[in-house]
Symmetry: C2
Subunit: 332 residues, 2 copies
DNA sequence: TTGAAAGCGCTAACAG
DNA sequence: CTGTTAGCGCTTTCAA
């Protein structure tokens, strides 16, 4: 930077202001300094800048998975919302319980980022406090962190809409396939979707026998097994609501292998509107995933005082997508 | 750090050495200092450390897409290989031609990372030089960067194996669906796979009429259209080699909508072994994707002098996966 | 093995 | 609007 100052015949501080986009520099000077900097192929050292200012110019994102459709799409949206700002994006993953506790004990983002986004991981108040306790804002994408900004959908409402679609078709024996995380527990979204299912069933005065509540580890395999289990019950359901499309895809596989036709013999509903849902003609509840990332970026920037509208909570709409795997039950 | 030094009754420099894992500190001291640091909940400032040492403790990764199976899986592998080291991972994406040139003119990773991994983007020698010219090592994952470390597969060999599988089944009229990037050009992997296809065809003395070479933008839609185009030719092929599974999935969709049965009426080969390939019973060429990320991490560390075995080039094996979409042509 | 001290390259008062 | 200057919190010689 000294070189630039010398070359432009101005003081170091003026260069700093010009390059930092700070006020207090005439446009004329600023333009000249920018030109000189470009010519010298100069780039500000983030380390020095960070040391002096206390800001890192980066945000972190913590995800439970990188290579799943939902999470990578959120990441893509986040990156998209951040690119223009010049903020860097630091990627942290905590998949297993061990990794998660390692993350919480090491807090590797400390002093590294100005703000942190947490994607689809439900944290206790204590855990949230542990993150936010370092003076940086923390936001939740697809998960509510007590007292922090949030963007996501209304999972319960989406699930209820899905189940109402089934009851409207005439189904009364509607099962659910719940999904568990790698730790074997139910995530927050799962809990909410389940709540929506129970609620919509109760609205119609429909019973939910225990045998109609299946649980499976997230994924195609889990869904396939859960569906097999449901088919084996003494009085199989006529419709199944799956807490995620990946699970529904597994359910469809079991159906196909049992020579049952989705829609005709048994209706299947997913949730998410995964890319493959369209291909497999799967009825589902669509949620705007990339938008959640993009809005997450906005919230991050707003929290850093760089954004426009700061909102404590953004709830995006879901949309019922009716395709071929749902239809009225036979012999109604 | 001063606090820690005071608390531990040692000099600042000793604390620095102890925390940095540098030699020249008695084990006794080191243990005590570490204990004090933990108790004080102290974490080294990466900014200050970076300013003083010139190292950032972070690596960058440049991907063309975040939300595609291949790329997110590579990212997952990279993250996995890096987590233990404490190195941070900075995510850069350049999707369109505009974003790519913006990346090259801004070089946002400058002074931010100690090394850069480029995933599946073929760069010219000039572009590679522009990246490496900042004194940091650059490695290519699934793309060769002139003069830099590389990890990937032998695309041509994989494609040739796929085509040989088809010729061994008795096919002679074998078409190919090529995939173009968002810029409309062929990527390096596409070029190599096409080369493998031509080579395997030539080996068997088989003709490749122009009508048997279809091109489509990457993705399901593109594949569907390309397949429709192939079916419309005066003498349709009996088998189609697709440069990627996503494209093959689109091809299968067109087949289904044309009431043709994959395998029986027309054989379809993919490439990559996407998660969905198994579900759709698609024959394909499997490549170890997560491993490429993991080994990419090793190469980065080796380039920084922190790794073990440094190899200039790692070529991972591909594996032919025969499923239901390929079979001998009818009426052979 | 330990300590003292000189920067690393910026930002942000403060003064002009 | 511009310049001067004092740190920011470390790493790393160099000396002891």
């Amino acid at each position: 930077m000294a070189d630039v100052a010398r070359s432009a015949q101005v003081a170091l501080s003026t260069v700093s202001r010009a390059l930092g986009g700070k006020p207090g520099v005439s446009e004329e000077q600023r333009a000249r300094i920018l030109a000189v900097a470009r010519e010298l192929d100069y780039a500000v050292s983030p380390a020095a800048s960070g040391l002096a200012s206390g800001r890192t110019g980066a945000v972190g994102v913590l995800v439970p998975h990188i290579d799943r459709w939902f999470h990578s799409t959120v990441l893509a949206g986040l990156e998209d919302g951040l690119r223009e700002t010049g903020m860097d994006l630091l990627l942290y993953r905590a998949e297993s319980a061990g990794e998660r506790s390692a993350f919480f004990s090491a807090l590797p983002f400390r002093r590294r980022v100005d703000a942190l986004a947490v994607v689809a991981i439900s944290l206790s108040e204590a855990e949230t406090a542990a993150l936010a306790g370092h003076g940086i804002p923390v936001i939740g994408i697809s998960c509510r962190l007590p007292g922090q900004r949030f963007v996501g959908i209304d999972d319960a409402a989406g699930a209820a809409a899905a189940v109402r679609h089934l009851t409207n078709l005439g189904h009364r024996r509607i099962a659910v396939i719940r999904t568990t995380t790698v730790t074997g527990s139910y995530g927050a979204a799962s809990a909410e979707r389940y709540r929506g299912y129970r609620q919509a069933m109760a609205e119609r005065g429909l019973e939910v026998p225990d045998a109609y509540v299946a649980s499976a580890p997230w994924g195609v395999e889990g869904g396939a097994e859960a569906m097999a289990q449901l088919l084996a019950s003494s009085r199989p359901p006529t419709a199944v609501f799956c807490e995620s499309d990946e699970v529904a895809i597994g359910a469809l596989r079991t159906l196909r292998r049992s020579n049952l036709v989705p829609g005709r013999d048994l209706s299947v509903m997913g949730f998410d509107d995964h890319l493959m849902a369209d291909l497999l003609d799967l009825s589902t509840v669509a949620q705007p995933v990339q938008d959640q990332g993009r809005i997450g970026a906005d919230l991050l920037l707003a929290a850093l005082g760089r954004g426009e509208a700061d909102r404590p909570e953004v709830v995006l709409p879901t949309r019922l997508v009716v395709r071929g795997t749902t239809a009225s039950p036979q012999g109604r």
